[in-house]
């Protein structure tokens, strides 16, 4: 539609120029964002030790955290060493008798059988060696202790621990020799008294 009014024509021309400028700016922003994100993605293919630092660590880290774009893919890069895995809480009474509870809060639900990927990762990573994960394990131990006492699952004088049964797959050569698939290891983790740290029971 055209306007016979010269003032109206100027206005529409001005609007069209503004629209074109805005469109160019939008395209420029898209290209800058997509280029930065794309380069960051491609750089992630390189092994970490030779990866170039395109941005200061703080900026790159904040961008990754805020956009959820941290690239750390390595599905099954290491072999799954467990043939089977099971976790439970063991309460030892004052007479030395033991009773068991499930390790999942709330409600001390049992460790699922058949195993669920999420619950396996939950315990395997929490109990793992990475120092920053111990924060979660200690918090879990505090929560367990609180819940055991609040729900009166544990009486005064009784003690509890987290028992992890790990069936480690044996070496191929050994399995070929006798057909036995795994070596069982049972670890008990107890909350250390007067401290938030956990320890492995002897």
């Amino acid at each position: 539609m055209t306007s016979s009014n010269p003032a109206g024509g100027e206005k529409s021309q001005e609007q069209s120029q503004r629209r074109s400028a805005l469109s160019s700016l939008r395209n420029l922003l898209i290209v800058i964002f997509a280029l930065c994100h794309g380069i960051k993605l491609l750089a992630a293919i390189l092994p970490e030790r030779i990866r170039p630092d395109l941005l200061p660590f703080g900026v790159a880290h904040a961008y990754e955290k805020l956009t959820g774009s941290h690239q750390n893919w390595g599905m099954f890069a290491t072999i799954p060493s467990h043939h089977d895995y099971h976790v439970r809480i063991v309460i030892t009474g004052t007479d030395g008798r033991e009773r068991v509870l499930g390790p999942l809060l709330p409600g001390f639900q049992p460790y699922p059988v058949p195993e669920q990927a999420r619950t396996y990762f939950l315990f395997e990573r929490m109990i793992g060696e990475a120092p920053n994960q111990r924060l979660l394990l200690n918090a879990y131990f505090r929560r367990l202790d609180e819940a055991l006492r609040a729900e009166k699952r544990i009486a005064p004088g009784e003690s509890w621990c987290l028992e992890v049964q790990s069936d480690f797959t044996r070496h191929l050569v050994h399995i070929q020799r006798d057909g036995r698939l795994f070596q069982r290891s049972i670890q008990r983790y107890t909350p250390a008294p007067a401290s938030s740290q956990f320890r492995v029971a002897p």
């Binding site: 904040a62 290491t78 895995y85 990927a117 924060l135 979660l136």
Partner: protein
Amino acid sequence: MNSVPPFGLPGRIFLRTEDVRVYALMRIGFAGVALYNLILMVPFRHTLFSDAGMFDIDTAVEHSEMASVALFHWFHTPGQVTLLMGIVALSMLLLMAGILPRLAACIVFFWHLSYVERAPVGLTGWDMVLRAFSFLILVSPLGSAWNLRAWWRRAWPPPVQVARYGLVLMRLQVIVIYLQTALAKMFDVNPYWRDGEFLPYYLMSHNARWPHAWAAENADLLMLGTYVALVIECAIPLLLCIRRTRLWGALLGLFFHSLIAVVSRNLEPFLVVMMMSYLAFLNGRDLNRLHQWFTARRPPRRLVS
């Protein structure tokens, strides 16, 4: 959009146009798979995300330096977590239906960002893929194609062309997932992949559907399988990148991930998530071809007098 995009090579890569229906398909596929994952998480919602679960929000905040964005600050009791998951499920349905898609995509993105920070040890590989795609969906053109409103009115707007930067980034994301994984396997400090011993160990592990000593007895045969798996993992992104081999790449990926899902326990969601990511490699012509293929097979309607 001009036929020759501005800003040189980056402009040609990111601003060249693509059929908006591909974005719509991606939006629907992503929302559907994210909803499926959300439903799978329902039994674990209190354990992983509520204050009554394994660890409280303060510990999660301390563990993650940027948990300030977590939705769980406002939804932390068991009831609130259930409510939040209901809101997110509704947002996923809205995203799928193309109703208020940007707002829905924003909620879905914050959900993924938040639960990853809230329960960092209870995560799986497909959670991370979904988180990466939730951001790319959020910043992509969502368009008006294939939405519930148009379907209800039976008035489909003609497919328009929009900038393809979102699809390019999604394709790059898929390539990075495969190549980084393959390189991690080849150069890991442990030699299991290089020595071809991965598959026997995997098939006797807790991940295997039928763990049995036969895997150790047939280690030589499975060594070949380990190397083939590695070659496939490198080949999929390369085949997907080349237009002429894209279909073969997708079929190889489908075969590979289906095989993993069959021999493994609990890894079916990974198959579904990766198949969703392949949708980003389609284009308008593929959709037209698919449409023709389906309509050719549809039985003709009978005229009733």
